[in-house]
Amino acid sequence: MADLVGLAEAIAAHVHDGDTVALEGFTHLIPFAAGNEIIRQGRRDLTLVRMTPDIVYDRLIGAGCARKLVFSWGGNPGVGSLHRMRDAVQNQWPAPLEIEEHSHAGMAVRWQAGASGLPFGILRGYVGTSLPFHTDTIANVTCPFTGEDLMAVPALNPDVGIIHAQQADRAGNVMMWGITGVQKECVLASTRAIVTVEEVVDAFEPHVNGVVLPSWVIDSVCVVPGGAHPSYAAGYSERDNPYYESWDPISRERESFEQWLAEEVMA
């Protein structure tokens, strides 16, 4: 049953140095506030899992929280590069960053397998590409009925999964809607789960692609209005596209990033 607690308390309770941590959200509902709190608490040696690292992981990587990144598309959406991620991969700054690289389809299958209690999942993917030569977590598997070769990828089962949703009810159940990405799978595949929400409501209304996660699969629910900024929460906010653009100059140089970090996160 989910505790309703403050974000700092939830992160302190559930995110530890060396953990594998996933903050999911596909453009929409990215748990930025939780990411900043992990930076503030000085976590180190995290393995960060996320389909699109986005600004949220550019920050964590630049702040030195990560030792490994598991991902499938690492750009600043609509803008360009993630400079802190690039600096870590190309120049090992502020620390070497091991990468484990997949496609979106592969990561989605890995999340499904993780949520399903299976050790692996299968897909028609990666065939002919260079990815299997550089990523250990891609293997062949043969269909026992047709003899056809397919690709297998191992389940994702992080220590902690963190998402942002629109609403919780008073029992600690959580509801999100609109573009919901792999967030259900992230919560169900992770050993511990934290959900930040825009607000607590008395009862949920039906929504397009409404997804409810019951309280008893969540460890902590934290009310953090705007906790997805600069991404958005449909029904509550719009994506802050100018912010995504402004991240490019902030993150381009180590100095400007560190200044931002000191002023906007650590202050």
Binding site: F26, T27, H28, M51, T52, F71, S72, W73, G74, G75, P77, G78, S81, L82, M85, R86, V89, Q90, E101, H102, S103, H104, A105, A108, V109, W111, Q112, L123, R124, G125, Y126, V127, G128, T129, S130, L131, H134, G178, I179, T180, G181, V182, K184, E185, V208, N209, V211, Y232, A234, E238, R239, N241, Y244
Partner: protein
């Protein structure tokens, strides 16, 4: 570009929009592919179905989306579903007619690189990576590629095959059991299409005012020219107006 009334982005977008078949189910990436697909939808191709990897099926955005998960893609969509389903039930199952991809590098046999320039372990430039591209390239009935012409982008062999085109050419793609493959590479200078047998990309159209030599100079391999090469029809006033309206919406 000799005509000052349209930019290279404009003509790439308009030519790409023209390449969409009537009512085709199109898997759309953000940026130029999305602009082209929506241009087609609001002009000549109202029945085309736009699918975005964020889980939106039949998106009808009232303005151009600024990201793959922009709320306008979900607002009027026929259906919004989870990301694992988009890839498994819709893309992998072969329900998509046209995939629309960009790339940082493309090679002679239409293999695409969006992962890394230089060696993977010590990259010269680390690019964003695969995203949905490998499976879009593998599972659609055909793929349209858009990117700007330059010798650094159009190379003999890509440094990393993020998305498989035709490998080393010939029947290599068929042997791997992949559907479709790239049929059109639309650039700011012209259009390249694979030779039916060798699958080597050859120049089949040049945009107005562009010479074959210009395209060859911007291509990092010895680009062959189709015997039936044509000049692209210049953007019409109607196309330009629709594109401008779309961008300003």
């Amino acid at each position: 570009m000799t005509d000052p009334t349209y930019t290279s982005d404009d003509i790439m977008t308009i030519v790409a929009a023209r390449a969409l078949e009537p009512a085709a189910v199109t898997f759309v990436g953000i940026g130029l592919p999305s602009t082209a697909a929506n241009l087609a939808r609001v002009t000549t191709n109202p029945d085309c179905v736009l699918i975005y990897e964020s889980g939106c099926i039949g998106s009808k955005p009232v303005r151009l989306p600024s990201s793959i998960g922009d709320g306008v893609l979900a607002d009027n969509a026929d259906a919004v579903i989870a990301v694992p389903e988009i890839f498994a039930y819709w893309l992998q199952a072969g329900r998509i007619d046209i995939g629309f991809l960009g790339a940082a590098q493309i090679d002679k046999h239409a293999n695409l690189n969006t992962t890394v320039i230089g060696p993977y372990e010590s990259p010269k430039v680390r690019l964003p990576g695969a995203g949905g591209a490998p499976e879009i390239a593998a599972n659609c009935r055909r793929v349209i590629v858009t990117l700007r012409h330059s010798p650094r982008a159009f190379v003999e062999k890509v440094d990393f095959i993020t998305s498989f085109g035709y490998g080393n050419g010939g029947d290599e793609r068929d042997k791997l059991g992949l559907r479709g493959g790239p049929t059109d590479v639309i650039t700011d200078l012209g259009v390249l299409q694979p030779d039916p047998v060798t699958k080597e990309l050859v120049l089949t159209a040049v945009h107005p005012g562009v010479t074959i030599e210009q395209v060859q100079a911007a291509t990092g391999w010895d680009l062959k020219t189709s015997s039936s090469i044509v000049e692209t029809a210049a953007p019409t006033a109607g196309e330009m107006a629709a594109l401008t309206a779309l961008r300003n919406a």
